[in-house]
Structure formats: C-alpha cells, structure tokens
C-alpha cells in the first residue's frame, strides 16, 4: 500500500469510525481501525460487533493495500500531524507515515482477522429524509434506559408502517413518542429496536446538508447509509412493550403552558436539590388558574407560581424534575399542553401545535 492524502482526510476517516472501536479487549484486533487503500479512496472501518462504521475519504492511491492499526495511538497521531501532505506506506505489517522530512512507523494487526461488515445487499431498502429522522432521534433518545439488565429499554423502537414512521423510547419511568408522515410507495414494513448508542452515532454523523438516508435491514441487523458513511448495527432482541396501551386516551386536567416559562420555573425549582446524587422531586399543584411548582430541601424552599389556562379539575402531583426538563428542552413549540388525571396517573406533555409528538411521565407517589 502506498497512499498520498491530506491530514484532513485522515482525520475525517478516523473520527467517523472511532466510536465503533471496541472498548473491551477480548479480541485485540477489534481495538484497531481497518485502513484500506482501494480505487482512489481510503476506507476506514471499525466495529465492536454490536455496531460497525465504514467511511470513505478521497486519496491518491499509488498502490492498494490493507492494514489494521491500533485505534487509540493512530487517532492520537493523526490529530497531532501537521497540516501537510501525508504519505502512507505499508511494508510487511508496518505502516510508515511520512510528512515533511519526518516519518514514523506503526505496527499493525493482521487484517485477515478483522471481521467483515456485511452489506445487507439484497435486503429490503427504504429511504428517509435526514432532517425529519434527526429530529425524531433528538426528541426520543433521551427517554432510553441505561440499565443493561433489561435490554429492550436501552434502544428506540423504529416502526415503518404504511405512510407512518414512528420512533418510541421508554425507560419505564417515561415514554417519548414521535410520528412522521413519509412516502412509502412500496409499502415497506419494518419494526425493530435500535440501540441508543447506534442512534447517537447516527445523530452525530448525519450532516444537515445531507438529504436522504438509506436504510436496509433484515431480522437481526439494520444498516444506515448516508454520504460516504455506512453504519451497521445489530437490533436489540426482545419484545418492545405495547406503547399504544399505556398512552391515556382521556384526561381530567388540561394545562396550557408557555414552554420556556414552564421550563424556567421547573429549572429554578430544581436548583434546591443538594446534589446530583438524588432525583430531584418537585411538586406541582394546580388550583383554578394557578400552577405552583414547589420544592423544599435542607437548602431552602422555592415556590414558583405561574398563571395558566386550565380545563378540568385541580390536581396535585409530583414529578422527578429531570423527566420534565428533558422533554421541555426538545420541544420547540411556544406552548405545551400538559394533560393529567389525578396524582397517580401519567402526565402527558405535547407541543400545542404539533400533534406528532407526545411524551408521558410517570409521577412520584409522595408519602
């Protein structure tokens, strides 16, 4: 292998795939990045067997070849390289990196040991608009659980059904639901739980100027293709709970709130929790047209009063303030609608002008 390229190309390639490098050291070759020179392109690949990323960058290839380089050192080196033309040369298992008069060399792993990323060619294909999908991820992913003991909750359910695209996430304490209308002429059908880690990476790698994203899938895996990036991920096995059942169909109280004012109030009321070790429980009480948000701790007390528009009954309810703030941060609409049915039933929050998003938070039963 002999290649000429810029520092930028190397950096793009390395940064794109770095997150897929395995952090476990069971299989040493997985702690490396595969670098392949082929067809006037440098191809970078990394995988932890849960997720794999491939990325192509332009380069001048004098001689094709392939190697696997230890990811940590290689990425640190690339970051520190000067902005200069760079030459890569592979001899036996050693990669020489030449710049200016200087050179360094790095011993690689055997590329034959590196697992192949399947292309899922021939599987069902579907094209999604990037801006919609990115937003869907942003508005749901935070509701995923980080608890490894119950894997189905560590990812988002992605559903394609007729002209509906749905993304749903829940950690059993709250649930976020986003639906979008798409064109689905071939009536493609898909349902699978995508690990939050995968969606995070996609969100990070998707550029706003990209228009479309192609997905391909089978029973166990899903592949996303956009720009020069291919990302393959395993799907989480298991039955996602029936979200339709848990979304309340009616309510006893409706509050119409200014999103930012509500967020500010909740944020202020949350300040009094001593530290991040404990959940921050705030009490909401609605009495005619007044909402009061209260919190008290050793540090002091706060009572935030908001004048609101209300339909239905008065109510007293307590929430973990994080569960409210998380959602208020991702709602752009000026006003939100909060629906409740007594102290112990889920509270539902929706943007007033957007029927396609819904969030549900379970209250805290205070003693």
């Amino acid at each position: 292998m002999k290649v000429n390229c810029s520092k930028d190309s190397l950096l793009t390639g390395v940064n794109t795939v770095l997150k897929a490098v395995s952090s476990k050291n069971t299989l040493p070759v997985l702690q490396g990045i595969l670098v392949k020179a082929e067809d006037q392109h440098l191809i970078f690949e990394a995988t932890d067997l849960e997720m794999g990323i491939r990325c192509m960058v332009p380069a001048h290839i004098e001689k094709e070849g392939v190697t696997v380089l230890p990811a940590r050192i290689f990425s640190d080196l690339v970051r520190k390289l000067p902005e200069a033309p760079i030459e890569l040369e592979l001899e036996n298992d050693i990669l020489k990196i030449n710049y200016y008069e200087s050179n360094l060399s790095l011993r690689g792993f055997d590329p034959d040991e590196f697992p192949l990323l399947p292309d899922l060619n021939g599987e069902e294909t579907f094209v999604l608009p990037v801006d919609i999908f990115k937003n869907m991820i942003r508005q749901t992913i935070f509701a995923c659980s980080t608890e490894e003991s119950r894997p189905v909750f560590t990812g988002c359910l992605l559903q394609i059904e007729e002209s509906n695209l749905r993304v749903i996430a829940t950690d059993t304490h709250r649930l976020a639901y986003r639906i979008a209308e798409i064109s689905n002429p071939e009536n493609c059908k898909f349902q699978g739980i995508i690990p939050a880690k995968t969606l995070n990476e996609i969100y990070r790698l998707l550029r706003d100027d990209e228009e479309n994203l192609t997905i391909r899938f089978n029973e166990a895996q899903i592949l996303f293709q956009f720009g020069s990036v291919v990302l393959l991920s395993r799907l989480i096995e298991g039955q996602f709970p029936n979200y339709k059942q848990v979304i309340p169909q009616s309510c006893q109280t409706k509050l119409f709130l200014n999103t930012r004012l509500f967020q500010d109030s909740v944020e202020r009321a949350s300040l009094l929790a001593r530290d991040g070790n404990h959940p921050n429980i705030i009490k909401l009480s609605v009495e005619s047209e007044r909402l009061s948000i209260d919190q008290s701790s050793d540090l002091g007390e706060i009572s935030e009063i908001m004048n609101i528009k209300k339909e239905g009954n008065d109510v007293n309810i307590a929430f973990n303030s994080k569960y409210l703030l998380d959602v208020l941060k991702v709602i752009e609409s000026e006003e939100v609608l909060v629906e409740m049915s007594g102290s112990y039933s889920p509270g539902v929050i929706r943007p007033l002008d957007d029927p396609n998003y819904l969030y549900l938070a379970l209250p805290v039963r205070t003693s």
Binding site: R150, P279, A318
Partner: protein, 682 residues
C-alpha cells in the same frame, strides 16, 4: 420447682420438641447441670474423666429428690417442672420435657445419690442401660449427685462418632463456661479429674464469671453495658471496638438465665458495632437479656438452644442501641502501640488534674455557647467556662491558656522499636515532628486501647477475682472523683499543630499527641452526613409505566408478604400477578444507582438470612460508602490550619469519630507520659 413429679399428658409430651437429647458427653453435662440449677443449687461441682465417656459426675446442693419419687424421675416424660403445655409460657426452669434422665440412663451406667435437705438419709439408685439394678437407702450429703459412667457402652456406633478426647472435653468446659456466665450466683467447679479447669466464686457478680471464662485480662478491658427500655433489660459486658475476634465464638447470650443462640440478637450486636469494627470481625459480648417469658418461644429446638422472639426487629434495634451507647461513651481512640497490654498499662491512674489548654484560638469551652470555629470563630471570643482561669502563658506561643479540670488518662504501652519520634526545633518556635521506623500498623487483634473505663467495673474485678485469678494490686485502681456533669467531647480539645506527609494531621490536647488520617476522618464525616440524609428521605415512589414482573421462590414470597407494609413504606408498589409472580409498579424514588428489582431482591435476601427487614439506607450502603469516599479529601491533599480545625471540629460532631466507615481508625494517639518515658524523663 418443688412440685411432685408426675407424668405429662401425652398431648403435651408430643408437643414438646422431641429429639436427640444425648448426642455426646457435653449433652450429659449440660442436662445434669441444668437439673441441678432447676433444683436451686448454689454450688455445682463437675468431675470429668477423659472425654466424659469414662466418667461424668455432677454434684449439687439443691433440693434433692424424695426417695419415693426417685424411680419415677427416670421414666420418660416425668417432670416436676410443668404440668401442661401452657406452663411453657411462664417457664422458670431450664428443663421441662422430663426426658434428660431417662435418655442418659438408657445409654450409660448411671447412679443417683440424692437426699432432700430435710431428710436424714438419702437414696441410692443404680441403673444400667435404662434398667434398675439397685435401689437402697444410704448416707450422703444433702443435694443430688449423678454419676454417669461408660457413656454409650451399649451404642458403639455413637461412640465411634465422637471426636478426640481433648475436643470433647473442650466442649464440656465451654458449656460449663456458658452456664457459669448465665448464673454468676452459682459457684461452679470443673475438675479434670484432679486439676481445677474452671472455677467461679458464685457471688452473683457477672464479671467474676466473665473473668473465669474469658480470662481476667480480657475481662478487665470489657465495657459494662446496662440498658433498659420498657420491660426489657440488657446487662453484661462488651468489648471495645479494638478488641475483636475473627469468629462469633465469643458471643454469649443469656435470656432469662438461659444460654441461647439468636440470629436476631447477633444482628443487633453487629449493628451496634457497625462501622466501628472491620468487616468479618466480631466483638466479645456477654449479654444478659431479661424479658417477660411470654415474649418468646423456647420450644423450637430439641436442645433448647434456639428461641424465637416475637418482636424481632424491635429487639435487634434495642440491642444495637444499647451497645452503641456504651461504645460511643467510651471514646475509643486507637493508641499508638500495637503490643498487648502490660499489667502497668491497665492501671487507671485517674487523677483529678488541671490541664492546660492552649487557647491559641481562644477556644470557648462552655457548653451553652459551644465551640467557635471557622473564620468567625477564630476572632477573639472570651472563654466563659467558670472552671478556667486566665493566666499568663508560659508556652512558646504567646497566647492565653485555659485551665480545665479533666481526667488524666492512663499511660500507654510502648514498643520502642516501633516508632521513634524525633523532635527538631525549627525557627518559628513550633516543633516539627518526624516519625521514623516502621509505619505504625494497627491490627485488630493486637492493638491496645485506652478508654476512660468504668471504674466500678475495675473495682469489682479487684474485689471479686477468684483465688486462681492473677492478683491485682489494689493500688492500681484509684477511685475516680466523679466528673462534674460537664459533658465534654474530648475531640473539641484537640488543636491542630500541622500536617505531615500531606496525609496526617497532628493535633494535641496538651495531654496527648493525636495523629488523624485526614481521608479516613473526612470519610467518616461525609458518610454520616449522607447516611442521615438518606434516613430523612421520605419513602416516595417513582411509579412505573411498564411494571416489572418479578418471580419469587416460595421462601422469597413468604418474606415479601410478611414485610409488604415495610416495602410499601420504602416506596415499593407491588401487585400480585399470578403464582409467586408480582408486578413491581413503583420503586423507591431515592434508590441511588440501583434498579428497583435489584433492591427488592436484596431486601428479600436480607430478610431470609437475617430474619429482619433491612432499612433503605442499609440497602444503599455500598453506594453511600462510595459517595462518601469520593467526596472526601485524599491523602496528599494540602490542608491549611483552618481546614484542619474544621475537619477536627466536624469529626467531633459525628456519632463515631474514631473509625472510618470501613472500621479503620481515624486517629491514633501518643500520650505525654509516653513521651516522657521514651525520653527517659520520668
């Protein structure tokens, strides 16, 4: 106790736990002694030959058995102690089954010589393998003597099953030791066969028995406990936190005069010592509990060793509280030396002396005003204690001194090669202290402790030591003038001098040099703060959108149902779903990093192993340790004088300033006396 012997009705007999009464020689000894105790004996002499198989003789001065009742006493289910099963609720005797004598008689060659106090002659009954051989009138002292020879001669299988002679005899002496602890009012003697192995004076002082059984040196270090709540009364002796054993062996429990085992009480004990002693170590405890007999059930185990209490949780809390109080009052600071106590060191030279305290910071010792610390407190504030006088200072630092009446503590033992202390004067007039030699290491078994000990206890040891006990020089115990009720916290007298190795704070109260491990100290402060915060947390419940199904084993289910209300108060919301399956609909809102299901399962495990439900803070304890450690200053953190003061002050406010949450010491100390000794000034 002196009712006639009659045969129990069959119904009652069956209700009483049957089982193997005579398993090994020690069982014979135990049964016979219990009979003697039931007969009101005040003197019991036991002679054992070999492992006890050869000969066991128990002689008492009790009420004796009337000649005409003697043959009946050897019938199964013959007892004079209860009449019906209801009597168990008011049981005042150790025996109640009427099984011991016939069982022993059936596997040995047994003789009984007995004479009721008022009779002029006694009866002599000889048995072999359960059959009467001879029954005659004889002359003998009042009381009863039972002789058991050739134990298991007709059951060779049993004999093979026995352990070595030493081991069997060991069990016997251990058993008599326990009975002696239970009954300090009875004089016990154990001979084997000529030497006296164990002897108690029977003067009614528990400490005598403790000394005889555990050794007088150990006994002297124990702390006396006396705690009462309602109709429960706890008395006895417990070890200071630095006197620990690696097994539960030295845990003695006596409930209403009966030696028993109880996981409930064991748990209470450990809870009392919690964080004061390292994990997997056990204190020495001799606890006597008095409670109405209808609050527990003795009839749960054939050897009557285990009893079941009705209010388990309350009891274990009661025990823990009692122990905690004594331990905290004892101010357990680990001293410098790791050698075991010398005789001299045990002397409590408790003189009422005046002590100078450097009021460099103008500390205020009056109780009402409290101690001023921190930035504001440093500014001059006139001491208000009536006991102190201001006098011109003669120390290097030109500040006022306060004189306070305090107890002078005893001097310490030392091992010269262990830590050499060099004192090099430096310009500014203060002293830089350098430790040389081996790092001081404290191991739980070997170190000594210095505690302002209950002098009454010391006096009692002195007065009542049995003849075999080492003689104590009465002068070693100087009576203490009762301290006025100035309640003082000895840590508040500590003034930091400086920091060494960026890890330890040196401080002095002018009487001792105290070395404080800054990390351990801070860990203790943070741990207690976090723990209390958690105790205050309400049992709020985060409800779940999708309930977690939980499958339980039959035992777990039983535990869950028994404590469903406790679980509810903690914030678990559970719903029965199917056979041994429950839905977790809500979990404690303040559950740290743990999943609800994990906590629930840990709760049930805890109940199954300890018979008592844990509290929420206990479930979260590992996490609290971690947080406390994370929040604490580390070794190698530089501290300025103000910070050191603050640390000592906060430490003094903790419930247990002397150990870190893992039971390691937060401070060690070296007394002025010790310095004088090492510099040959005395």
């Amino acid at each position: 106790m002196t009712r006639n012997i009659q045969i129990l009705d069959i119904q009652a007999a069956n209700q009483i736990a049957a089982g193997e009464v005579v398993e090994r020689p020690v069982s014979v000894v135990k049964e016979l002694i219990e009979n003697s105790l039931d007969a009101g004996a005040t003197k019991i002499e036991v002679v054992v030959e070999g492992s006890g198989v050869e000969l066991i003789r128990v002689q008492d001065n009790g009420v004796g058995i009337p000649a005409q009742e003697l043959p009946i006493s050897l019938q199964r289910h013959a007892t004079s102690k209860i009449r019906s099963i209801e009597d168990l609720n008011t049981l005042g005797t150790l025996g109640f089954r009427g099984e011991a004598l016939p069982s022993i008689a059936s596997v040995s060659k047994m003789e009984i010589l007995t004479r009721p106090q008022k009779e002029i002659s006694g009866a002599h009954l000889i048995f072999e393998g359960g059959k009467e051989i001879e029954f005659l009138e004889t002359g003998c002292p009042p009381g009863t003597t039972v002789i058991v020879k050739d134990l298991f001669y007709n059951t060779p299988a049993r004999r093979k099953f026995l352990k070595s002679k030493n081991r069997e005899f060991g069990l016997i002496s251990e058993c008599i030791g326990k009975l002696a602890l239970a009954r300090p009012d009875v004089a016990f003697t154990l001979r084997h066969p000529k030497t006296i192995v164990l002897q108690t004076p029977g003067r009614g002082q528990l400490i005598d028995s403790v000394g005889a059984v555990l050794g007088h040196n150990t006994a002297r270090r124990l702390l006396e406990i006396s705690y009462q709540k309602g109709d429960w009364e706890l008395t006895g002796f417990i070890s200071p936190p630095d006197l620990v054993r690696s097994s539960r062996q030295s845990e003695y429990l006596i409930v209403n005069g009966r030696i028993i085992r109880s996981s409930v009480i064991s748990r209470g004990i450990l809870e009392g010592y919690h964080t004061l002693i390292p994990n997997k170590y056990y204190p020495i405890t001799v606890l006597k509990l008095k409670m109405p007999p209808n609050q527990y059930d003795v009839n749960v185990h054939p050897t009557k060793m285990e009893i079941r209490f009705h209010e388990e949780k309350k009891l274990s809390e009661f025990i823990a509280e009692g122990i905690r109080q004594v331990l905290m009052a004892s101010h357990p600071i680990t001293p410098f030396s790791k050698e075991s106590p010398h005789r001299e060191s045990l002397a409590r030279e408790a003189n009422f002396t005046s002590k100078k305290i450097n009021s460099q910071k103008k500390m205020n010792y009056s109780k009402e005003v409290g101690f001023s610390w921190g930035l504001a407190g440093i500014k001059a504030q006139e001491p208000q204690d009536i006991n102190r006088t201001l006098e011109p200072n003669d120390s290097l630092i030109t500040q006022d001194s306060i004189e306070l009446p305090i107890l002078q503590k005893s001097n310490l033992v030392h091992t010269p090669q262990e830590s050499k202390l060099d004192s090099k004067p430096i310009e500014n007039g203060s002293h830089l202290l350098v430790f040389e030699g081996n790092p001081v290491q404290i191991t739980p078994e070997t170190n000594t402790v210095q505690i302002p000990k209950d002098t009454n206890l010391a006096n009692r040891i002195q007065e009542n030591s049995s003849p075999e006990a080492d003689n104590l020089n009465p002068q070693e115990y100087v009576s203490i003038i009762q301290e006025e009720d100035i309640e003082y916290n000895p840590l508040l007298r500590l003034c930091p001098i400086g920091q060494i190795f960026q890890t330890y704070i040196l401080a002095t109260d002018e009487e001792n040099l105290v070395v404080i491990d800054q990390h351990a100290a801070h860990e203790r402060i943070n741990y207690e703060k976090l723990f209390q915060e958690h105790q205050k947390k309400p049992g709020d419940s985060q409800m779940l959108l999708i309930p977690t199904p939980i499958e339980l084993s039959p035992g777990e289910e039983e535990a869950l149902l028994e404590y469903i209300l406790v679980l509810n108060e903690m914030g678990f919301i559970l719903e029965h779903f199917g056979t041994r399956t429950y839905l977790l609909r809500g979990i404690p809102a303040y559950s740290g990093p743990y999943a609800g299901e994990t906590l629930l399962r840990e709760f049930l495990d805890h109940v199954l192993t300890n018979q008592i439900p844990p509290r929420m803070e206990e479930l979260l304890e590992e996490w609290i340790y971690l947080l406390a450690c994370k929040d604490s200053i580390k070794a190698k953190d530089n501290l300025n004088p103000l910070e050191m003061e603050q640390l000592i002050f906060q430490l003094s406010k903790t419930n247990n300033p002397y150990t870190c949450p893992h039971g390691r010491p937060t401070m060690i100390q070296l007394s002025k006396k010790e310095f004088e000794r090492r510099f040959y000034r005395s």
